[in-house]
């Protein structure tokens, strides 16, 4: 059995970026060009209390990430990173792109709390959706997106920040790990999706 030797070799984490006062976790690897995320049938609820599945976003390019509303530092930076990507898009394409943010923390992040976050960030309501789901599907979605997270005793959630681009069929085409990281690849691939 050599698997544990392999495991030790794989331990070196990638893109661990500690935001001030916020525990972070390195992201894990994810293959691009694989299956559509829309095979996942977990039910989610949006900030208006409407039930959706990820497949509702089929047909449009999607930027998807995970966050939690009481997150002091990394999550606001995540929103600003997504905005930055958005600002570099062809205006015609931008109208189509959907931003989907799923909370790690369904207990505290009720639809009302999610609606407040959306309000606070003054984002385009036609394109930004904040979602919650059950803890089991939170874990599955995080595994699919290569996001590691854990609850800490003080109520914070240590997590890796990853922004993932899905094509119109829901397959992962690009991702950026960490906050304040260059997102040139996502921007380029998004602009290439212009019809």
């Amino acid at each position: 059995m050599r698997s544990w030797l392999l495991a030790l070799a794989l331990l070196v984490p990638t893109a661990a970026l500690a935001a001030e006062g916020h525990p972070t976790l390195p992201a894990s690897k994810v293959e691009t060009g694989g299956d559509s995320l829309y095979v996942l049938d977990g039910k989610l609820t949006d900030q208006d209390g409407k039930e959706v599945t990820l497949a509702n976003f089929r047909g449009k390019p999607v930027l998807i990430s995970m966050f939690y509303a009481t997150c002091p530092h990394a999550c606001p930076m995540l929103v600003s990173d997504v905005r930055k990507i958005d600002s570099q898009l062809d205006p015609a394409l931008r109208k189509e792109v959907q931003v989907v943010l799923v909370t790690f923390d369904p207990d505290r992040d009720t639809p009302e709390a999610l609606a407040k976050v959306r309000e606070a960030h003054k984002v385009d309501k036609d394109r930004w959706t904040f979602l919650r789901t059950d803890p089991g599907f939170v874990r599955e979605l995080a595994a699919v997106l290569g996001i590691r997270y854990r609850f800490t005793p003080d109520g914070a959630i240590g997590h890796s920040s990853v922004i993932t681009l899905l094509d119109r069929d829901g397959a992962i085409v690009s991702r950026v790990e960490g906050v304040r990281q260059p997102a040139d690849d996502i921007v380029r691939k998004l602009n290439a999706m212009k019809k």
Partner: protein, 231 residues
């Protein structure tokens, strides 16, 4: 299933200074790893988890590769041997279909710390030496049956010595880098350095389990990685 009593768990890698001792609630865990027979019944009832039906997103291409067919075990998979080559997604779905869940890493480690005679055998040199011996042996092509040896203090079999096992939150604990910790954040991430700070320096087998688990991804399937459920 066997009941694991409430108590305190001392993780070998405390993910933060506040978590050096973790209070554990009582829970139940399967008496032995899920077998090929059990898993065959699951895929028979749930076609979406059959080999050839599962999307790559949820299980890599070697999923149940050693079975003869999608619904046939064949010579390389004894019905009473632990099922392996199952992804985390598949293991999680199996447990949920049976009204259970995957154990957390803390639960699994807490249950696995027991020797045959004590709820915590981690400082028992004979116990830890026996575990290490397993890690030095190659995995046989056809895995042996479950529950052939001695049960541990709780009545659970094969927590060591047969297969590695999935846990719900694999890979989330060991690799934390918490900026509230002073000093070098790398000390929590690398075996050699963190060994100095580890809770129990004798329990070398536990280092390997944490290392192995932190290298996994949800769709991975491995020939000696199985699972059991908790409740």
């Amino acid at each position: 299933m066997v009941r694991i009593a409430a108590g305190e768990h001392v993780p070998i890698y405390p993910p933060s200074p506040e978590e050096a001792v973790i209070p554990m609630k009582a829970f139940e865990i399967d008496r032995h790893p899920v077998t090929n027979r059990d898993y065959l019944a699951f895929v028979t009832k749930h076609p979406k988890w059959r080999r050839g039906q599962v999307p790559r997103l949820l299980a890599d291409r070697r999923y149940l590769e050693h079975w003869k067919g999608a619904l046939e075990l064949g010579p390389d998979a004894d019905p009473d041997a632990p099922v392996t080559r199952v992804s985390w997604f598949a293991a999680k779905a199996y447990c949920e279909a049976n009204g259970k869940r995957l154990p957390s890493e803390n639960e699994w480690e807490y249950a696995a710390a027991a020797s045959a005679t004590s709820p915590n055998g981690r400082s028992d040199a004979a116990f830890t030496a026996k575990l290490l011996e397993w890690y030095s042996k190659p995995t046989p092509k056809v895995l042996p049956r479950v529950a052939q040896g001695e049960a541990n203090f709780w009545g659970a079999h094969d927590m060591h010595g047969l297969v590695w096992e999935w846990v719900l939150d694999f890979g989330s604990t060991m690799v934390s880098s918490d900026s509230r910790e002073d000093g070098d954040p790398d000390k929590m991430r690398f075996c050699g350095a963190s060994a100095i700070n580890a809770g129990d320096k004798e329990d070398y087998a536990a280092f390997m389990r944490y290392a192995f688990r932190s290298s996994l991804q949800g769709p991975y399937t491995v020939g000696n990685l199985g699972f059991r459920c908790a409740k």
